[in-house]
């Protein structure tokens, strides 16, 4: 441990610079272990997949713009439907919130220099990218998954879906799950052990609480999905009988396992959004979060109770009354932590001195949509209503208000909010406000009429419908809304791209945020903090200006190598200085071995699969062998 008096001498900063500067060029990006670069890689990759999922959605909406439209046939429609769901959930929202926002921000918010396992972090990204390409390869080969993202059996069994469509699904999601599991472990270790000295759990930013809750939820929920996919592949390829009645199996087994994963998944999707909201609101309301400890508890509770509600996706399958009632009650219970947060957000804004800049506007939109989606969510805890309206467009409306309104809106607000931190430039405020309103109107117009067509009996997942059922006008409105929404998103993209090159330089702290990321220059240096801060409140940056505290007190410079401090879990007392691994080619090589093994498994070449498995194991060896000396 190195401790010096402040200020840090320029030589020591130079030394930090030398230690942490990555390799130049493309090679530097391929071998990077820097959480900020990995975060950006996640961002670019997930935005690509977002665009793909958006095009799929617009194609479907065009097909549904009027009755008996013939833009795409049922086969293509089913592939679009399935890929849209898979893309938005597994290739966009989860990886952008955890992978992009979480990776970039968590170490900066907790005062660390990197994630706890930097190479595993890189591996997570490359595996994620590989899983996305794997799933889309199915599309390119005309065999995209086509039984819905929920992939119910028996429809997904060989008997009814003989192509390799479903094999792309099952193997792709196993691969994706491996990536998310690695990321989850990394976040838990990072948040528990790498917080700056003094950042006890009650001073940890609420965004980190949200990411922590998500990481635990991912870790515990994903095995159910992976297991389900393994069962499915065993049945499809080796003739096992997990799901067929004749062989003593049960098709409902798929649904149980899928939703044991699938409902916590919903909270995995929205929790980071809550975290983003609780970052943006205090900054622009210019006050601390109302009921901070309650909100932290609520974030963790949502993830916990979220594991006890899954069977409400199966209310029409003929479960016993006692089961129905139990899961309905649990589904009502999960409402409480959400209402706590909604009112805490609203009261923070109403009792503060709010400035409605673009990020806060997006959070306002988020609250409106989250409440709308939440209220219809409560309706689905009324069992008879659920049993009537499930699998109609009413559900589509409900979960798009949650997933698009409540999860994506904070992501969009967050893009604007942290854009100056990442690029060192301000976005264009007026255009950002316009983009908000276009996106807001588009979202409302796309998803609100779906409630009505749902009540009018329009079922989900239909590639076309008959005229004369009172659905036509609403569907046309939804399609117009979809294109409006797309225009809003393009405006946001245009704003950010333009501002990246032409925005005003913004300095370290353009919005006067409270958390640690605003104490470092924009963009942050490779080593994040020249001196590891010592934290005394949940809003250390405000603390510094308000009370004149010195964040760099203690003077942990740590310039003997890739070093970051490790602290005790609850109170964040300094325990030891960790020596972090540096850049490495092995994560991407290992990811390549794993994905090639999966490709060969898909193609049925067991022997070549084994070869790649062995190569992967060798790579893992090399990963641990070479630890270059620090200078």
């Amino acid at each position: 441990m190195t401790a010096v008096d402040l200020p840090v001498g320029p030589q020591r900063v130079e030394r930090l610079e030398r230690i942490w500067t990555p390799r130049p060029g493309v090679l530097g990006w391929l071998t990077t272990t820097d959480h900020k670069r990995i975060g950006l890689l996640y961002l670019f990759a997930t935005l690509m997949f977002f665009a793909a999922g958006g095009v799929e959605a617009l194609t479907m909406r065009t097909q549904l713009a009027q009755a008996n439209e013939k833009l795409v046939g049922p086969g293509t429609f089913d592939e679009l439907l399935t890929m849209h769901g898979i893309t938005m959930i597994f290739l966009f929202i989860i990886p952008i919130t955890t992978g992009a926002f979480g990776n970039y921000l968590v170490p900066l918010m907790i005062g660390a220099r990197d994630m706890a396992f930097p190479r595993m972090n890189a591996l997570s990204f490359w595996l994620f990218l590989a899983s996305g390409c794997f799933l889309y390869a199915g599309f390119a080969l005309g065999a995209a998954p086509n039984a819905g993202w929920f992939d119910y059996v028996p429809l997904a069994l060989k008997q009814y879906d003989p192509g390799s469509n479903i094999d792309f699904y099952a193997l792709g999601l196993i691969l994706n799950g491996a990536s998310s599991t690695a990321a989850a472990i990394n976040f838990i270790a990072t948040i528990f052990k790498l917080r700056a000295p003094g950042m006890s759990l009650n001073r940890m930013p609420l965004f980190c609480y949200a990411v922590l809750a998500v990481a635990f939820a991912l870790l515990l929920a994903l095995p159910a999905l992976t297991l389900d996919c393994i069962f499915l592949e065993l049945q499809r390829r080796l003739g096992f009988h997990f799901f067929d009645v004749a062989g003593g199996g049960d098709p409902l087994l798929w649904q149980y396992l899928f939703w044991i994963f699938g409902h916590p998944e919903v909270y995995i999707i929205v929790l980071p959004a809550f975290g983003i909201a609780t970052s943006i609101i205090p900054t622009f309301a210019r006050r601390r979060m109302v009921a901070f400890p309650l909100v932290a508890m609520a974030e963790l509770l949502v993830a916990f109770i979220g594991f006890g509600v899954f069977a409400h996706h199966m209310f029409a399958t003929g479960l016993a009354t006692i089961t129905l009632v139990f899961f309905a009650a649990a589904s009502m219970l999960v409402v409480i932590p959400s209402t706590i947060q909604v009112y805490a957000w609203l009261l923070t804004v109403a009792t503060g001195a709010p400035r409605f800049r673009a990020p806060l506007l997006f959070i306002g939109g988020f609250v409106v949509f989250f409440v709308l989606g939440g209220l219809t969510g409560i309706m689905f805890t009324a069992i008879p209503f659920d049993q009537a309206l499930t699998d109609t467009y009413f559900v589509v409306a409900h979960f798009h208000f949650i997933i698009f309104g409540a999860a994506v809106f904070p992501i969009l607000g967050g893009l604007y909010y942290w854009f100056p931190k990442v690029t060192g430039r301000l976005y264009h405020e007026r255009l950002a406000i316009v983009s908000f309103w276009v996106t807001f109107v588009g979202t409302t117009l796309t998803f609100f009429p779906m409630h009505i067509v749902g009540l009018l009996g329009m079922t989900r997942r239909v590639y076309t419908y008959e005229p004369g059922l009172g659905w036509d006008a609403y569907n046309l409105a939804e399609t117009i809304g979809g294109f409006t929404l797309a225009a809003g998103l393009l405006l946001i993209l245009g704003n950010l791209v333009w501002s990246r090159f032409n925005g005003e330089p913004c300095g370290p702290d353009p919005f006067h945020g409270g958390t640690l990321e605003w104490t470092v220059p924009s963009p942050p240096p490779h080593y994040n903090f020249a001196v590891i801060p010592t934290v005394r409140s949940p809003y250390p940056n405000w603390d510094r200006t308000d009370a004149g505290y010195d964040l760099e007190r203690g003077g942990l410079v740590l310039d003997a190598g890739h070093e970051t401090p490790s602290t005790e879990v609850r109170d964040a007392r300094l325990e030891e200085i960790l020596s972090m691994p540096s850049e490495s080619p092995w994560p991407i090589v290992l990811a390549a071995c794993v994905v090639l093994a999966f490709v060969m498994l898909l193609a049925g070449h067991v022997l070549i699969t084994a070869v790649f498995g062995v190569l992967g194991a060798l790579t893992l060896g090399a990963w641990h062998l070479h630890e270059p000396e620090e200078t």
Partner: protein, 334 residues
């Protein structure tokens, strides 16, 4: 809207209701034609009003925040008061509201939509989901039909749902909730129409390519008409009367038709496609995809994939006169 029940509430419920009331679609969950569905629709209106109030409170606070955008700095905060407010609004009130909803919906409404208990109904109908049509059987009679379910008005009917292949879901929105039709399981739902009418339903669980064209029609009619209908359906198929019809029957038995379809009273005993014994008594073809007219029947037989891409029925290579004979025969099956 015949039932006066939600007329006054529609004033409260505002725009959405106006939108809904303007539509007369017969697959509309808010135009109930049974006691069970009326209780579901009532539940909806009650929840809508509750939601409107909850949403109003959120909007109020948002507007309050917007009005304070001019403030220079935040006033000193009162942590105790703020926490009390969050606990009251975020825990207290929701707990009371949710408990009430739980008792109302999951105890009381649930009783009226519950699966019929044995012996509580006057008749049973078996509904079997197929890719992509509905097989309808009347146990105790030889009646087997497809895609149209006739029921007597005012009688409690026990619908027993199963599937022949993948999971389907049976839902007639104006009459009751839905039940999934799952391999290895049997689910039941009560149909009890309180007025005559034709109530459309549609498969509600994604079942593959033609999930969109798997509709069903429940026809509730006065008891006497229902009895007459049932008596006719019980009979075997009417024998062909003209030369052309006879040729049609022969074609049906010798071409691929008989491999999949049954016509009671003939040698056609296939079970893959719908029973056609009284095809001409039905209003539609291919699970409500086409009207049952001679022209539609012709095009359906020559190119089923056109109206229903991916359907299991193959196109038949028939000459024009053969097609005339076949449609004439099928059209005679009243």
């Amino acid at each position: 809207m015949k039932r006066g029940f939600f007329q006054p509430r529609s004033l409260v419920a505002g725009l959405i209701v106006v939108g809904l009331a303007g539509c007369g679609g017969n697959q509309d969950a808010l135009h109930p034609a049974s006691g069970a569905e009326r209780s579901i629709a009532d539940l909806w209106w009650v929840m809508l009003i509750g939601s409107a109030i909850g949403f109003g409170s959120v909007l109020f606070l948002l507007v309050l925040g917007w009005r304070r955008r001019g403030r220079k700095t935040s006033p000193p905060s009162n942590a105790k008061l703020e926490t009390t407010l969050v606990v009251t609004l975020g825990v207290g009130i929701p707990v009371v509201v949710l408990l009430s909803l739980f008792v109302y919906s999951d105890v009381f409404v649930m009783r009226s939509t519950a699966a019929p208990t044995p012996g509580s109904t006057r008749m049973t109908i078996d509904v079997i989901g197929h890719d992509w049509w509905w097989e309808v059987r009347y146990p105790g009679t030889p009646v087997v039909t497809a895609n149209e379910i006739h029921i007597p008005v005012g009688s409690a009917v026990n619908v027993v749902g199963t599937t022949a292949d993948v999971i389907h879901s049976f839902w007639v929105p104006q009459l009751n909730r839905k039940i999934d039709l799952i391999p290895g399981r049997t689910n039941r739902v009560l149909l009890e129409a309180d007025r005559p009418g034709r109530f459309r339903g549609q498969c509600s669980e994604f079942c593959g390519l033609q999930h969109a064209h798997m509709a069903v029609l429940v026809i509730a009619e006065p008891r006497a008409r229902f009895r007459a209908w049932l008596a006719n359906q019980e009979k075997p198929a009417r024998p062909p009367a003209t030369g052309e019809e006879r040729l049609g029957l022969r074609l049906f038995q010798t071409q691929a038709c008989a491999g999949c379809h049954t016509i009671r009273g003939t040698t056609a005993r296939g079970t893959i496609g719908p029973d056609l014994t009284h095809l001409a008594s039905r209003g539609t073809l291919a699970a409500l995809t086409l009207p049952n007219t001679p022209a539609a029947l012709r095009s359906w037989i020559t190119d089923p994939d056109h109206a229903k891409p991916g359907v299991k029925m193959p196109a038949l290579p028939l000459t024009g006169s053969q097609l005339d004979a076949l449609t004439a025969y099928l059209g005679s099956l009243r």
